[in-house]
């Protein structure tokens, strides 16, 4: 399978009302050709609804969807240049793996020899040639997932859509399959939109992430950017972990105020010796997290969580905790970032 010429995706002013409730409000999003973008957000924020509108299963009440520069909003799913991988894989149980993968080509009336060749290529790509003649019910969840992926890829779509593609796999397989998906996506250069509510998954595979909340995109940026410069308080708490405190920071301590400060746990540094910018703190709880540990610290001004690597201090240890970096929010929006003077 060769690299497909993938167009980008441009969504403008997308609106959708379902059950009398406005689910998607004026959503704009531009995905560049060959880019992998995740739609990330809490349950019920409208990710699936958005994806289904892109795929053509739902008609938006307003807005435009362009794939490769072509308006597709009035086309049925069978006429759109996108291919979707469903959450439950949606493999046809009465067809073998090869028949499942070949069906889209059969619909396009491709010659038999070409179908056979492209099915083999797609199955080789996802490493499933040995299950060619198996029925979907007889193969494992991960293999079903890869069959569904092959069925989408064989169409050489301009746009690949995946709805929570990994949610039915166990933790270990999930990491492997998502790396496979990313690798294949990059190799083929195929524009891809993945829906997920798992931030780690989104962070590890995406070029950019659209963080959704209540039918809106809160921020659309690279994983690193979302983490270091979250545009809103929602994004800051949703991506990664955050100490959220009311007030502001003055001379390294939290003082009452109108705004909200957010401090990443890795920006809280705890040590046994006193520090000019630190305050006395005691360790109240230690939560092992594998290669690091999460400390719950009590200071006179606030309770802070901190990450340490190496051997963590024991519960009850006294020391000094300082804040190296923080985010400042007002009315939920980022207004500034602070570092000690």
């Amino acid at each position: 399978m060769t690299t497909s010429v993938s167009g980008g995706l441009a969504i403008e002013g997308l609106h959708k009302v379902l059950g009398g409730r406005s689910i998607i409000h004026s959503l704009d999003m531009a995905v560049r050709p060959g880019e992998l973008v995740s739609l990330l957000g809490p349950s019920g924020c409208g990710k699936t609804t958005t994806l289904r509108m892109i795929a053509g299963f739902l008609t938006p009440d307003a807005g435009s969807i362009k794939v490769g520069g072509r308006e597709v909003v009035n086309l049925g799913p069978e006429h759109r240049p996108s291919a979707m991988v469903f959450q439950n894989y949606a493999l046809w149980p009465h067809m073998t793996v090869a028949k499942n993968v070949g069906f889209p080509l059969k619909l396009r009336k491709r010659p038999k020899a070409e179908i056979a060749e492209r099915v083999d290529a797609a199955l080789t790509l996802v490493n499933l040639m040995h299950h060619k003649d198996s029925r979907p019910a007889r193969i494992s969840g991960g293999e079903q997932q890869r069959t569904a992926l092959a069925r989408a890829l064989v169409q050489e779509p301009e746009l690949l859509l995946l709805d929570e593609p990994l949610s039915n796999l166990d933790a270990k397989l999930r990491v492997k399959v998502r790396e496979d998906i990313r690798e294949i996506q990059q190799r083929l250069g195929i524009t891809t939109v993945i829906v997920t509510h798992d931030q780690e998954e989104a962070m590890s595979v995406s070029d950019r992430i659209a963080v959704m909340n209540n039918g809106r995109i809160e921020q659309f940026s690279t994983p690193a950017d979302l983490y270091s410069t979250p545009a809103t308080e929602f994004v800051a708490t949703f991506i990664g972990s955050l100490n959220r405190l009311e007030g502001r920071i003055e001379d390294g301590r939290v003082v009452p105020g109108a705004g909200v400060v957010g401090i990443r746990p890795e920006d809280v540094v705890f040590g046994p010796e006193a520090h000019p910018r630190g305050l006395a703190a005691t360790v109240e709880r230690v939560v092992p997290r594998g290669h690091f540990a999460e400390l719950h610290l009590r200071r006179e001004d606030a309770e802070l969580r901190s990450y340490v690597t190496g051997v963590p201090p024991a519960v009850g240890t006294s020391g000094c905790a300082r804040i190296e970096k923080w985010l400042e929010f007002e009315d939920g929006q980022l207004v500034g970032q602070g570092t000690p003077a």
């Binding site: 795929a55 053509g56 299963f57 049925g76 799913p77 069978e78 996108s82 291919a83 979707m84 469903f86 959450q87 439950n88 949606a90 493999l91 046809w92 149980p93 009465h94 069906f103 889209p104 619909l107 396009r108 029925r135 019910a137 069925r151 169409q155």
Partner: protein, 269 residues
């Protein structure tokens, strides 16, 4: 020891069940070949094929077999043509009166059959349908509506929508999706409905007798006159013939529905 005991109980139960089911059939089979059989002998005094030749050489009986083999398949086809689209609509669309119609389908089976047929006969006299093929077909199809609607409706409803959406996404039109995905997956349920309809048509006697006799006699209606006019052995031969399609269909169904890959269709997650 308890295991041996419980196995013994199972074997005993199976034997009783087998006797209960096979016993009368065996008696029937023996009777069909018996020249004479005096109580309390376990087996007939003499064997004969006379009753079979009586059946096969009697023109009226032959016609009855022909009629049955005509009405049953036609009934299934007509019933499927009428009921399957309705079943699909019940399964996939929400429309006003949906529940009413779904329950209404039971109406034909919820009244005493004879009462229904008598009022049907009154209607048929007015419409000149008495003693017509069409009239008999109407009676037969009526008796199959419940099977042909409810079972396929459940089968269609059990086809996950995402399987249909995946077909649309792959490039199939709505019609193509129905014939390539929905129908094959629902097929086991539809086959079951077709078999039950076939048997119900094959067995239908009351209504057929009322509407069709004496011009159109089918195997079950012919049974009535057999019981009255022929030796019991002929009735035995005839009931064996009447049972053949049921047994054949059940065997075929077993092979294709339980054993075949279609069964996997039911295991879809």
């Amino acid at each position: 020891m308890p295991r041996v005991l419980s196995r013994g109980v199972v074997v005993l139960l199976a034997a009783v069940l087998a006797l209960f089911i096979i016993g009368p059939l065996a008696w029937l089979a023996v009777r069909a070949f018996a020249a004479s059989w005096t109580y309390p002998d376990l087996l007939p005094d003499a064997w004969t094929l006379r009753w079979w030749s009586v059946v096969f050489s009697d023109r009226a009986l032959g016609v009855a077999v022909q009629n049955s083999l005509f009405f049953a398949p036609i009934t299934v086809l007509v019933s499927a043509a009428i009921c399957l689209p309705a079943a699909y609509a019940f399964a996939r669309f929400e429309f006003p009166g949906r529940r009413f119609f779904l329950i209404g389908v039971f109406a034909a089976n919820s009244f005493p059959k004879m009462g229904l047929f008598v009022s049907l006969a009154a209607l048929f006299y007015a419409l000149n349908l008495m003693n017509t093929i069409l009239g008999i077909l109407v009676v037969h199809v009526l008796g199959t509506v419940v099977f042909m609607t409810w079972i396929p409706a459940a089968a269609f409803a059990a086809v996950p929508r995402s399987l249909e959406e995946a077909a649309r996404d792959a490039g199939a039109s709505k019609l193509r999706t129905f014939f390539s995905v929905t129908l094959p997956i629902a097929l086991p349920g539809i086959l079951v409905a077709a078999i039950m309809s076939f048997l119900s048509s094959f067995d239908e006697a009351q209504g057929t007798y009322l509407v069709g006799a004496p011009d159109y006699m089918t195997m079950p209606t012919q049974m009535y006159s057999l019981v009255l006019n022929y030796p019991t052995q002929v009735a035995a031969v005839f009931s064996i013939l009447l049972a053949i399609p049921s047994v054949a269909l059940l065997l075929a169904a077993h092979k294709h529905i339980v054993g075949g890959h279609l069964a996997e269709g039911f295991q879809i997650k």
